[in-house]
Amino acid sequence: MHSQTISLFRFLMLGILSKRLLVLVTIMVLGAVLSGSFINELAIINGDAIQTAFVADFLRYSLALLTLLMITTSVAEDYEFRQFERLLTMPLARWQYIAAQTLVIASLCLLLTLPAALLVSLYANVALGLYWATALWLELFLLGVLGLLAILSLEKIPQAVMFSLAIYLLAKLSGLISLMLTESVKLSEGSVSSRVIEFIFGAILYVIPGSETFAENDVFFASHDLIVMLGSQLASVSIYALFLLMVCLIDFYRKEFNL
C-alpha cells in the first residue's frame, strides 16, 4: 500500500519538475539578489541586515505564489486529463492520492526553500539561514495544502489560486482588518451592523491561520529565540495543515467521478 503511494508521489513529482521549475526559481533568485543589492546600496546603515530581510521576504512571497501555481496546475491537469478516473480504476484508495499529493507538496517546498537557505546563510549566518528555510518550509507547506484543498474543491486554477491567496492575505492582514473594523465601530458610534461585521470577522479569525504560523522576518534585526519561534510555528502549522488535509479527504471522498 505504501509502495503504491510512493509510486504515485514519484509520478506526480516528475510532473511538477517538468514544469520548468528550475528556470522559474532561478529568475526569482536573480530578482531577489538584484533588488536586494540595490536596496543595500541605498541604505546608509544596516545595509546588510536590510538586504537579507528584503531578499528573504522577496523569496517568501514569490515562492508562495510559485508553490500555489505548481500545486493547482498539477491537480488541475489531473482533472483535465481524467487522471482521477484512471487512478480510481486501479487498486488505489482515495486517501492515497491525498497522501501522495501531501508528499509532493512537502518535497516541492523543500526544493524551493533550498535557495532561500543558501542566500540567507550567505547574507547573514547559517543559524538564520536554517531558521528561515525551516520557517519558510512550514509556511509554504501550509499554503500548498491550502492550494490543494482549493483546487480539489473548485477544480479551476484561477479560482483556486485566488481563493488560496485570499485566505493567505486575510491571515497576514488580519491585524489591519481588525483595526479597520474597530475604527469603523468607533466612527459609526457602535452601530449594530458594524458590531456584527466585527463579530463575524472575529469568528473568521478562528478558522484562518494565526500570525505565529508564518516565518518571522524581524529575526534579521534583533536576536530572538529561534528554537522557541520554530516550535510555536510547527505546532500551529501542524494543527492547521492536518485540519486542511482532513477537509481535503472529506471533499475528495464526496466527489463523484465517471468511472
Binding site: I45, N46, I50, A53, L179, D218
Partner: protein
C-alpha cells in the same frame, strides 16, 4: 581701453539676460514640479500592512523618505520639504520599527543640516524624544544633536541641556566616557568653569573613570579650567 563694437556688447547683454531668465524660470518650474510629502497614516495601519515584517517596512519607509528629495531624476533642495510632515514621518517610522536607529540618523545627519533655526529645532526635538524613549540606542544622535545646537543653532543652553541628559544616564546605559564629558566641555564654553570643575572633580573622586587616558584627559581639563577660572577672577580682583 579697447572699445567693443556696440552690437557685440548688446548681444552679450541680451544673452546674459536670457540666461538669467532661463535659470530663474527653470528653478521656479523645478519648485513647482516638487511633490510634497504626504501626511503619513497612523502607525498601526503600517504595522498591519507590514504583514509581520515591521522592522523591514520601517527601514524601507526610511529609505523612501531619504530618497524623497530625488524626484523624476531631479534633486530638490531640502528647503522645499515641510519639516512638520517630515518629523511626522520620522515619528511614524520610529513607531513602526522601534529598534531602528535609521530615522534618528536621518534626522541628525541629513535633515539636521538645514540652516533654518525653526526647522532645526523640530529635528532636535525629534532626536531628544527618541533619546528619551531609548537612550542606549540613540545617545550618539543626541550627542550629534547637541553639537548641532551649539554650532548651527548657536544655542549653547540647548546644547548643554542635551549634554546634561547624556551625562545623567545611569551606568547601565553603555556609552563611552567622552559622551558624558560633553557636559563640562560645554559648561566651559559658557564660562561656567566652577560647575565644570565640580563635575570633573566629582567624576575623579567617584572612581567612575578607570581608563588612564581618560583620567589624564580629565586632570588636564581640570587644571586648564582652574587656570581659566583664576584668569577670569583676576581682572575683577584688580
Amino acid at each position: 581701453m579697447l572699445l567693443l563694437p556696440r552690437p557685440l556688447l548688446l548681444g552679450f547683454l541680451v544673452l546674459f539676460a536670457c540666461q538669467l531668465f532661463y535659470h530663474h524660470t527653470s528653478r521656479t518650474q523645478m519648485a513647482l514640479n516638487y511633490q510634497a510629502l504626504d501626511k503619513p497614516l497612523s502607525a498601526p495601519v503600517y504595522r498591519g500592512i507590514a504583514m509581520g515584517s515591521e522592522q523591514l517596512l520601517g527601514y524601507l519607509l526610511a529609505i523612501r523618505l531619504q530618497l524623497h528629495d530625488n524626484q523624476a531624476g531631479q534633486h530638490f533642495r531640502y528647503s522645499l520639504i515641510d519639516y512638520a510632515v517630515l518629523v511626522d514621518w520620522l515619528d511614524l517610522i520610529s513607531a513602526v520599527g522601534p529598534l531602528s536607529e535609521y530615522p534618528t540618523l536621518l534626522a541628525s545627519r541629513i535633515y539636521g543640516q538645514t540652516s533654518d533655526p525653526d526647522r532645526l529645532r523640530l529635528i532636535l526635538d525629534f532626536v531628544e524624544r527618541r533619546f528619551d524613549e531609548n537612550p542606549q540606542l540613540h545617545w550618539r544622535r543626541l550627542a550629534e544633536a547637541s553639537l548641532l545646537a551649539k554650532h548651527k543653532l548657536h544655542d549653547l543652553e540647548r546644547a548643554l541641556q542635551m549634554a546634561e541628559k547624556i551625562a545623567r544616564q545611569p551606568a547601565s546605559v553603555k556609552m563611552p566616557q567622552w559622551a558624558r564629558d560633553f557636559q563640562f566641555l560645554l559648561l566651559a564654553e559658557l564660562n561656567e568653569f566652577e560647575s565644570a570643575i565640580a563635575i570633573i572633580q566629582a567624576l575623579l573622586q567617584s572612581n567612575a573613570v578607570n581608563d588612564p587616558d581618560e583620567k589624564r584627559f580629565l586632570e588636564e581639563k581640570l587644571s586648564d579650567f582652574q587656570q581659566k577660572l583664576l584668569d577670569n577672577q583676576q581682572p575683577s580682583i584688580n
